[in-house]
Symmetry: C2
Subunit: 504 residues, 2 copies
Amino acid sequence: MPINTTGPAALASRVMNAEAAAALITDGMTIGMSGFTGSGYPKAVPTALAQRMKTAHERGDRFRCRIWTGASTGPELDGVLAQADGVEFRLPYSSDPVARDKINRGEMEYFDMHLSQVAPMAWQGFLGQLDVAVIEISGIRADGTLIPSSSVGNNKTWLDRAHGVILEVNRWQNPALEGIHDIYYGTALPPNRVPIPLVRPDDRIGETGFRCDPDKIMAIVETDMPDRNLPFSPPDDCALAIAGYIVDFLRHEVSRGRLPSSLLPIQSGVGNIANAVLSGLLGSPFEDMTAYTEVIQDGMLDLLRAGKLRMASATAFSLSPEAAAALNRDMGDFRDKLILRPQEISNHPELIRRLGCIAMNGLIEADIYGNVNSTHIMGSRVQNGIGGSGDFARNGFISIFMTPSTAKEGRISAIVPHVPHVDHINQDVQVIVTEQGLADLRGLSPKQRAKVIIENNAHPDFRAALRDYYDRALAHSYGLQTPTLLHEALTWHQRFVDTGSMHA
Amino acid sequence: MPINTTGPAALASRVMNAEAAAALITDGMTIGMSGFTGSGYPKAVPTALAQRMKTAHERGDRFRCRIWTGASTGPELDGVLAQADGVEFRLPYSSDPVARDKINRGEMEYFDMHLSQVAPMAWQGFLGQLDVAVIEISGIRADGTLIPSSSVGNNKTWLDRAHGVILEVNRWQNPALEGIHDIYYGTALPPNRVPIPLVRPDDRIGETGFRCDPDKIMAIVETDMPDRNLPFSPPDDCALAIAGYIVDFLRHEVSRGRLPSSLLPIQSGVGNIANAVLSGLLGSPFEDMTAYTEVIQDGMLDLLRAGKLRMASATAFSLSPEAAAALNRDMGDFRDKLILRPQEISNHPELIRRLGCIAMNGLIEADIYGNVNSTHIMGSRVQNGIGGSGDFARNGFISIFMTPSTAKEGRISAIVPHVPHVDHINQDVQVIVTEQGLADLRGLSPKQRAKVIIENNAHPDFRAALRDYYDRALAHSYGLQTPTLLHEALTWHQRFVDTGSMHA
């Protein structure tokens, strides 16, 4: 009960239940919530808010808000608010299935943003004013500073920018979290920006808690609820093959002297394949590795335990329930090896470029020239969002994208003639890996890339059709820098929409 | 004659004519040349090299090279080498019409790169080894350092990385250039990168010349040849309208307190419209402006003369012949207001983000969701290249793209249902301006953007067709995050290829 025991006495009067706190939120407000990849999001107030929204809608009243977060959250935030039809506008990232359906039915506006840019753009002011911040923390110190929870995200910015603050103090979070956070207060708007003084992934450049004007605190709600993350599947043969190719590639780069034997700081996207790659690094020859990434997944804890990874910097945890329980148990062993930072720092282009991160991200599909779609199924239906992949892909030392070569039991090819939506332009895509092989695209022209991608990445069931498209494009394209058959480029996707398969 | 009078005596023996210097280059070599937007490129050696290539080809011998530069050059480099069929592979940017034809006929490989990434990627090593650097300079000092010419580009990196160096000392360049350059030698490969100590556009962080190992200098060729830049057209009504909307927008941002009254450092792409915008700023209320950009164009000199612009930092000049002559005449007045830097610094994401540049770049076409194609006509035929637009658009404080709303006497719409090639993803495109109006896309979801772009940017002749496409996409798209009709998305471009017009 950190509030009563150590927090400023004046705050005790603002302790209330979630329903009373949610009643401070009204129709049309913009709310900045905590939460990043299913950790550290508020759980009680959004649920109570959703109930109020439903009740209002039953009365025929309008009650919808604009919701900003760090990234994805959990069912008790994005899920319940979407179910209540309570979200008018959402940024910057969402992976909730209910919200996704609403968005793709056109019932909810979604601005899918580079995660590094959320805080600076909020400061720039054109996203509009922020009415309320609803932030999960793990405690309040006697000096009034807030002990962050299992994610940092944009919390510093929401606390600074919001007119009012609602805190959820979650006693489920391990008290040993205290001290692992590094909250940098040196950002500014131009012309007052200065170099960010971080030159190693383990540099600490900030404070261990959030500053918060106590006069802005409208409500404090005590909770005891677990973060809800999904379990990871054990890596299948496909994921293991991808991981194997990546480890081989990195070994090759080390042997050529293009990477140090401890590699460079690793960035790894979220998901089963990313986790498999981390597992693959367990058996690799690399030692004394570091991670400078968005989220700390199960595989990273294994690498830390094994002593292969020296430390990991991120903005959030994204752990399976088992790994979360184990981390809570063993936090004492890990706390000096983990740093959680604001996402504007974990994803900052300046720092990613300086550190030279090895960026590893997933994709939905790539075209034969290496343009990557990582967000829009069939070009129009959003899956999750671009997240931080653009921050890392453009600024990393090497930008790797990985995917199984097919989806939907082989009916969808991840390598297509033309992507109907682009998140990563070919210049930002240096290596593509599928279970079929690895395409090293560095320094290649579009036509050179096409050959390598078709031969190394595509599934054999689609390879002949891709070769055929490319050969005919070479013969008939308007120009031959990036040969394209306009009338045919998107027919694979149209066929899937029409027939459920990209196969002709 | 800087070599004989002040250069190290040992170098005198390496003075030779262009033909003898070109004879040091052999088939298959990779050559790093100076040159950026038609300034500071070597003129005599490439011409002599092209002649040798032609002669070899007439004999039936192979003689083709890989050519790296800063950006575009002039007819005496890209033009003659392409005419001689002497370029096997070209990076990172080219605008030469002969080379463009070769590329689009599939006779020359072209890797179109972010300009900030060329030097670091060359250092990373996977572009291959650099055999020879051919660099135009304006003099050699007694201590052996080289006085740069009218562009800096990647010269520092080529001089450091190449096995051998050929220098063209061009006495046409104004001796008063000496001292305006700022060559930063603090870059490194990770894990040894540190913050770049530049916090204002006028900070000097380097040296005024290039270091060069004298043992690597294979040849010194003396020339007296002008840079060849194209004249600017006087701004037409369309360019003036675009400039007017941009100035109004910037005034509005200042009035809302989102920009200081001196604005933030301006980045301006190359071309007539960009130049018109600079002219528009002449009559604006903004004072004490600065520029942190790639190239210094005519309009910037006018702003400097008028005292509206305090100083300009770039990597090259791109001046009309008249402005170049005037600058050569008045260099004494300008030299403390101009800084030329390596392009890895002029375009560095770290610095663009820190300074908060106002990015203004041209485009070929944008789709109704704000994805921008700035390189590929009809998706396949390259025009010039992405250049530095990606460096500035993603990292700037505000990212503005501008274009006339139609091309080819109204037969092409610059606003289309779907772009067949993406250089700038919608997240990196915040404002689009045509002579029809300005679309402020900041903080908008894709569907919100579509309405603003169609109504504010599209030409009235195409507006109804765009509305019709969008309405039908809303009714029939697979998903409604980014409504798309796959079978129709690229038909405007196909129609142009078939009929010479996008009009149905």
